[in-house]
């Protein structure tokens, strides 16, 4: 468990980092942020990056701010930064609750939000958040920058639209309306393990009916995603008009689950229904507490 030789670059400005990355990315150079996935993979010799561009010394990338109704999360903001709400209203509480499900405390103190998005593990909580809430991912390169919607950024399991010479510099999340509610449900074998299945649900109740329901699932398919058919079952109705069992059944039907040696597609399909129903239940309960 000793990584193969590599050269470590420690730029202090984004321009410098992009210049180095531009030089080394063709031979497999990678960006190092929290390193909580990358470094173990190097130690296991699953990946052999000959260069690492460490962006932790680039001060502006640690920025976390609310501007124009958007929460901006810089590339080196750690998971643990969200343990306490970083923004007023439901979003801060949502991120705080979800952050507690990410791995273990030491990992949360080092791993980053944007690093999780870039790694694009199917069971990543932040990828689920990004897809469900509609994050925008800001990429920089020597040629300039571009902004991708989460839907365009995630391409497959462990795969994103980021080009090798690009750095994810920040992600922006829309601040949720104060009246919105959310619910999160995750099932895993042990505390801190990758989710076998999870769901994040948000909606608002306006005039007694559900508005803008978002129902995301993660850990079930190759990428987290929203379930539009299940969302449609909730939209514009009283929340009590939809049976949890019906939501669960619809979620099971809508997903196309992964299969692996320990977990069959059938199990994951069933679990999708369970976590969706539970997340909706949690959102309803949260709403009830507020009312």
């Amino acid at each position: 468990m000793k990584p193969a030789p590599f050269e470590l670059h420690r730029p202090t400005t984004l321009g410098e980092a992009l210049a180095i990355l531009g030089r080394v990315c063709d031979e497999g150079g990678l960006v190092l942020a929290g390193g909580q996935s990358l470094v173990p993979m190097m130690a296991l010799r699953v990946v052999y990056p000959p260069h690492l561009v460490d962006i932790n010394g680039i001060e502006p990338l640690s920025r976390i701010a609310v501007e124009d109704g958007l929460l901006t999360v810089g590339a080196t903001v750690r998971h643990a930064a969200f343990h306490r709400p970083v923004v007023d209203g439901p979003l801060g509480h949502l991120l705080a609750e979800v952050s507690r499900h990410i791995a273990h405390y030491p990992i949360r103190k080092r791993g980053t939000f944007c690093g999780s998005l870039s790694h694009a593990d199917p069971a990543s909580e932040w990828c689920l958040v990004a897809k469900t809430l509609g994050a925008r991912i800001h990429l920089a390169s020597l040629e300039g920058g571009r902004v991708l919607e989460a839907d365009a950024f995630f391409v497959g399991a462990m795969t994103t639209a980021r080009e090798p010479a690009e750095i994810v510099v920040e992600a922006r999340l829309p601040v949720m309306p104060g009246a919105a509610t959310f619910g999160f449900s995750e099932f895993n074998r042990r505390a801190g393990d990758f989710a076998l299945g999870m769901s994040l649900v948000t909606f608002e109740i306006v005039d007694g009916v559900v508005v803008d329901p978002r129902i995301g699932i993660g850990g079930i398919e190759e990428m987290p995603r929203r379930l539009p058919r299940v969302e449609a079952m909730l939209a514009d109705r009283r929340v009590t008009d939809t049976e949890p069992a019906a939501l669960a059944a619809a979620a099971c039907e809508e997903v196309d689950p992964m299969e692996d040696a320990t977990t069959t597609a059938d199990y994951r399909r069933h679990l999708a229904g369970v976590v969706v129903a539970r997340a909706v239940g949690a959102a309803v309960a949260r709403q009830a507490r507020k009312d």
Binding site: M1, K2, A4, P5, P40, L44, R45, F187, R189, R190, A191, G192, D193, F194, L196, A261, T262, T263, T264, Y267, H270, L271, V274
Partner: protein
């Protein structure tokens, strides 16, 4: 003046002597050791589960700067394979593991080449460059299928072990009812915090080969290495350092232990190898994978008439040091605390293309207790009886002790030495509040939760012989040195042995220094395994201390002009029993017994003694596990809410340490019951080679545990009545958890396989409820 009374240490939870270095960071594990000019070794491992080796190219690796040597099997000459500890079971030698693969590879992770380099990084870089050209062969992975070919002319079933007595077929014919189960336990093993490691150097000044990082069986390993390397045992020294957990897997001879020795001798430089976690999960002994087809014939009251058992044992790719012991002991000890008039067991010992298997804490008993207790639950279900009542009716009575089983295990006749199984059961039920637990679980079920309680009874075994020797020496400063050939795996043996020596001798236990695990300090030793150290070394220590005490009192009686019977040893000083008068310390007596001391006279120099303890029979502690679980019906997730273990240890030397053994063992038992499993793909690729895939229990999953230690049945096989405590915490965890899950879901026999993962529980619910779940 008040007479002084000796302080008693046996039975007290005194603090552990070994903790200071462990808690202050002064401990020295093998990875902490370095010798000047040492080389680092890296093993190149097979990526194929089964294949023919067409060639291994090492040129590129050898050319890397800092690489000193790269060897394959061809470079090892006629180095013999990994040895087997002899048993009566024949036919195993052709299946031993070569130090480096020869001709074929038989599991992913099998050593095929070895690199020696100036740095650990360089060694790993070079290992990456070794190219093994392997023609894949069909792997054999499922012992429920007919055996395959191990090598031309050799099947993958080296032996079939048969045990039993009575007329099983006749018993089945007259049975009131018959119950048959098909049960299995998944492959899992010990995950010590410290991985394996070895550091060898050839000390040319003394012409001695030193091996640091020894554990468990230093003397046997020394003798075997001597034979393999054609050296005299007098020229090999094994050193035990601090050990971060053994549990059966550490301290056996593995290819790496041999390779560091060969490397150090041939290359003339010390060679260090520290196993990484992935290697541990690929190459250290695995355990537990068994399939059981078991049938019981019972009368109308649920009493056993006969048990008919077929075991399919997955040994992995090779026979290692333990031979077929685990399979043998599984069927030899399967019957636990119950009276079974007729018994027939057949163990098919089969090799598969997986990591080789051997012992893991409570080997054969974790599995056997799961199977036996599932069987009892099934009988109760079948006859509509209370499972506790069925157990009571079948328990061997205390008046029947010693109870001759008519079976063997670990090359000894199984004779249950002492026990009051029914007595402990009743005590445990009251102590744990079992009835209230059951009632509360039922009430919660009525309210819609899936909560249940489960139960498992077991008999452990401990105190395996054949022998142990102790040298005990009192130094002039009063320090007492106890040298034993047993070893420490961190279990607290130094403290337990010190407590026994202190009580016998009449000294403070803190004045005792216990030395162990170093072959250059003592000629014989049988190590630390099979819950034997407190019993074997403990009794040898007591005997040595008796002899030293007698010598001290005889000498003091002359010096103090008192009758020896009127003297006592109190806190290291010989005093008059009635109090007052002159006294002399053991240290002063030791000084006067120095070889050159004028007052020694014709006495043997030194206040010292040596004693042996020999034992042909194991002794048998026993216990009860009780679990309360809550199952999430929708996900299949299991939360263990509460756990109780009652254990009769015969004589508790240090209750706190016994409790620690039980709780620690339980964490491993619960891991095996719910979480841990080495999985393999259809082509034999191991899938559990990181901690993200091999799930050990963590603090979050560990329930509150209550432990009741009793001393109702001291062993008649040693004067202190000692029995072992190393494995009782693991033993019936699978049994109790399975039973509790059944109860929670109100589906008898739901758990037929361990670990009971959420995925498994869901699939069983669907299967048993016809897809309704």
């Amino acid at each position: 003046m008040q007479p002084l009374r000796p302080t008693r240490y046996i039975g007290k939870s005194v603090t552990r002597l070994e903790d200071r270095p462990l808690l202050t960071g002064a401990a020295r594990f093998v990875a902490d050791l370095d010798f000047p000019h040492q080389l680092h070794m890296r093993v190149v491992r097979s990526a194929h589960a089964h294949g023919r080796i067409l060639g291994i190219t090492t040129t590129e690796a050898s050319a890397l700067p800092g690489v000193v040597a790269v060897w394959t099997a061809a470079d090892l000459g006629d180095l013999p394979p990994i040895p087997i500890r002899a048993t009566a079971i024949q036919g195993l030698p052709p299946y031993r593991q070569p130090i480096l693969a020869r001709g074929r590879v038989r599991y992913v992770g099998e050593p095929v080449a070895v690199v020696f380099a100036e740095s650990a990084y360089g060694a790993e870089d070079a290992a990456d460059l070794v190219v093994a050209d392997i023609e894949p062969l069909e792997p054999y992975l499922d012992v429920c299928r007919a055996p395959a070919e191990f090598a031309p002319g050799l099947t993958s079933e080296p032996t079939i072990i048969r045990k039993g007595y009575g007329d099983v077929d006749a018993a089945f014919q007259r049975a009131h009812a018959m119950v048959a189960l098909d049960l299995s336990v998944g492959r899992h093993s010990a995950i010590p915090m410290e991985t394996r490691g070895a550091l060898a150097r050839h000390d040319r000044a003394r012409d001695v080969l030193e091996l640091h990082g020894a554990a468990k069986r230093p003397h046997w390993n020394r003798d075997q290495l001597a034979e393999m390397l054609s050296m005299s045992p007098a020229r090999i020294e094994l050193y035990e350092n601090h050990v971060g957990g053994g549990f059966g897997v550490r301290g056996e001879i593995y290819p790496e232990d041999v390779l560091v020795c060969v490397g150090a001798r041939r290359l003339g430089r010390p060679v260090k190898w520290i196993e990484d976690r992935r290697e541990h999960l690929l190459s250290a002994n695995q355990s537990r994978e068994q399939h059981h087809r078991i049938r019981a014939a019972v009368d109308a009251e649920g009493r056993f008439l006969a048990i008919d058992e077929t075991l399919l044992h997955d040994q992995g790719a090779y026979v290692r040091t333990h031979g077929a012991r685990v399979a043998d002991m599984t069927i030899g000890l399967l019957l636990g605390p119950y009276r079974v008039p007729n018994y027939r067991a057949v163990a098919h010992y089969r090799l598969t293309n997986k990591t080789p298997a051997a012992t893991y804490r409570a080997p054969g008993r974790f599995e056997g207790s799961f199977v036996r207790e599932r069987l009892i639950d099934a009988i109760a279900q079948r006859l509509d009886l209370d499972p506790l009542e069925v157990r009571r009716r079948n328990l061997i009575g205390s008046a029947e002790m010693p109870y001759v089983r008519g079976l063997t295990a670990l090359e000894t006749e199984v004779i249950l030495d002492s026990g009051d199984y029914a007595g402990l059961l009743e005590k445990a039920l009251v102590w744990s509040g079992w009835q209230a637990m059951s009632r509360q679980a039922a009430a919660r079920r009525a309210a819609g939760e899936a909560v249940g309680v489960g139960f498992g009874m077991f008999v452990e075994k401990s105190g395996l012989g054949p022998s142990e020797m102790v040298h005990l020496t009192v130094h002039a400063d009063g320090t007492v040195e106890v040298v034993t050939g047993a070893s420490s795996l961190g279990q607290g043996m130094e403290t337990a042995i010190a407590q026994i020596a202190a009580d016998t001798l009449g000294v403070d236990y803190r004045s005792i220094r216990v030395l162990h695990g170093n072959t250059n300090r003592i000629a014989f030793g049988f190590g630390a395994h099979a819950s034997r150290v407190t019993v074997m070394t403990g009794e040898a220590t007591r005997r040595a201390a008796e002899a030293v005490r007698a010598k001290a009192l005889a000498f003091a009686s002359e010096l103090l002009q008192r009758d020896a019977a009127a003297l006592d040893v109190v806190d290291g000083t010989v005093v008059a029993r009635e109090g007052g008068g002159p006294s002399i310390t053991l240290g002063q007596l030791a000084a006067q017994l120095a070889p050159a001391s004028g007052s020694r006279g014709d006495r043997e120099p030194g206040l010292a003694g040596t004693a042996w303890f020999h034992s042909k029979h194991m002794n048998y502690p026993y216990g009860v596990h009780m679990a309360q679980v809550a199952v999430d019906r929708e996900t299949g997730g299991v939360k263990v809410e509460r756990y109780c273990v009652a254990y009769d240890v015969g004589r508790a030397v240090n209750p706190a340490m016994i409790e620690g053994q039980i709780v620690g063992g339980l964490a491993q038992g619960l891991g095996g019951a719910l979480l841990e499993e080495f999985l393999y793909s259809e082509d034999g690729q191991p899938l559990s080679v990181t901690f993200a895939d091999y799930l050990t229990l963590t603090a979050r999953e560990m329930p509150p545990v209550a432990v009741l230690i009793t001393e109702d049945a001291p062993s008649p096989l040693n004067p202190l009545g000692l029995k072992g405590a190393g494995e009782g915490g693991v033993n019936a965890a699978g049994a109790a958890i399975a039973s509790a899950i059944d109860d929670a879901l109100q589906v008898a026999g739901l758990v037929a396989r361990l670990p009971a993962t959420p995925q498994y529980i869901r699939s069983r619910l669907r299967e048993l409820e016809g897809g309704a779940a």
